[in-house]
Assembly symmetry: C2
Homo-oligomer: 225 residues x 2
């Protein structure tokens, strides 16, 4: 399947590598290809520059956001939350009629850690994205899970923890579930329509506090019932 990953950060790279490894045709989209390639610095988390990442993974292609979105039959939004709505609005034509998995979180780091949210409670980033892309089937998924666990859930406790998804289109959610199962996800909880993004995005303030208390990002929630 042709899949576009929007965003070159930790999440985008993890998704791209995993999908490529599963045999998909992956193109990564970035705001400014020249700038992304020209950058030779590690990021603040110590990850290698994108040029080095691409050299190590020659199956992965890089293009502009619009090029990637146009090529992909399915789109995964791994852009920063505060940039997602505007960036995706500009891609409305390229993503029209397609499934878009929204992995982003509306995090506001301007007041330090733990970050607050730029939107929550009576709205959500997932809903905002669906609102600017009325012809796209937006499915919120993976956002409340560390990147490494997103794409390899069995690396944590054999996969006995939960993935939450929501979206307005049942077929789109079934497709996203299929991809998630190909990653190894076993417990997938469908919360309903895209307004349930409020619930999964509001996990982030707790997620960040748990990361602080547990001193690791390698954990996930499981609903015990």
């Amino acid at each position: 399947m042709k899949i576009a990953i929007l965003g070159t950060g930790v999440v985008g790279r993890a998704q791209a590598l995993r999908l490529s490894g599963l045999g998909h045709n992956v193109v990564i989209g970035t705001q400014d290809v020249h700038k992304t390639i020209a950058n030779t610095d590690k990021d603040y988390m110590g990850n290698p520059p994108m040029s080095e990442f691409l050299r190590a993974n020659p199956n992965l292609k890089l293009g502009t956001l619009a090029e990637a979105a146009a090529l992909g039959d399915l789109i995964i939004n791994c852009l920063r939350g505060d940039r997602s709505v505007n960036a995706l609005k500009a891609l409305a034509k390229e993503v029209s009629g397609k499934i878009l998995i929204d992995v982003s979180n509306p995090l506001d780091f301007s007041h330090g850690m733990p970050a607050s949210l730029t939107v929550c409670n009576t709205n959500s980033l997932g809903e905002q994205i669906q609102a600017v892309l009325p012809n796209t089937k937006v499915v919120k998924a993976f956002n409340a899970v560390n990147a490494a666990i997103q794409v390899d859930p069995t690396s944590l406790a054999g996969g006995d923890h939960d993935l939450y998804i929501c979206g307005n289109d049942a077929e789109a959610k079934a497709k996203v579930e299929q991809i998630a199962r190909s990653y190894g996800w076993k417990n997938i909880i469908d919360l309903g329509d895209i307004s349930n993004s409020r619930g999964v995005e509001m996990l982030l303030p707790m997620w960040m506090r748990l990361m602080g208390a547990l001193k690791t990002p390698i954990f996930n929630f499981k609903v015990v019932k």
Copy 2:
């Protein structure tokens, strides 16, 4: 120990019964004793009126909020979230120097279910309560768990799920942990100071959505790590 439960709802009753069963001296506080006793209707969830509950449990005493708060060496706030700050502010003298466990949630049901929150993200009910009770040691606990599970965690999956607590005073948190362990809690995660109420209160939008998806309130989160 002399313990005051503020609130006569499902949560207050569950906490009162459990603590009484554990040998504590429990007094329940209500806004208007006469009105509470005079009411002969079941509540909207089908629970018996308070008079019937008290007849069935003669060890439990009922008083005004101020009487209960004055008698208790430890206070548990089980009032409705939207009434808690004003009600507790009026009890500042009675709860001064004491530990107050805040179980309430800032739920706003005015737009239907799932409820939104009246405060979140950059503030929380736990913090608001600590702010109006500067001489009280507020510990947020139990709020993200169904009442029955709060006081009997081993009834669910043998107790293999989490209780999150936070507060500014280490000794107060140790005391609350001790009570929680007497209920059967095994996994207690201390998130830090009272500002972490933001995290545990923001679990509620997800909790309500999970209750809808799972069609039961009998579940709890476990952090898998």
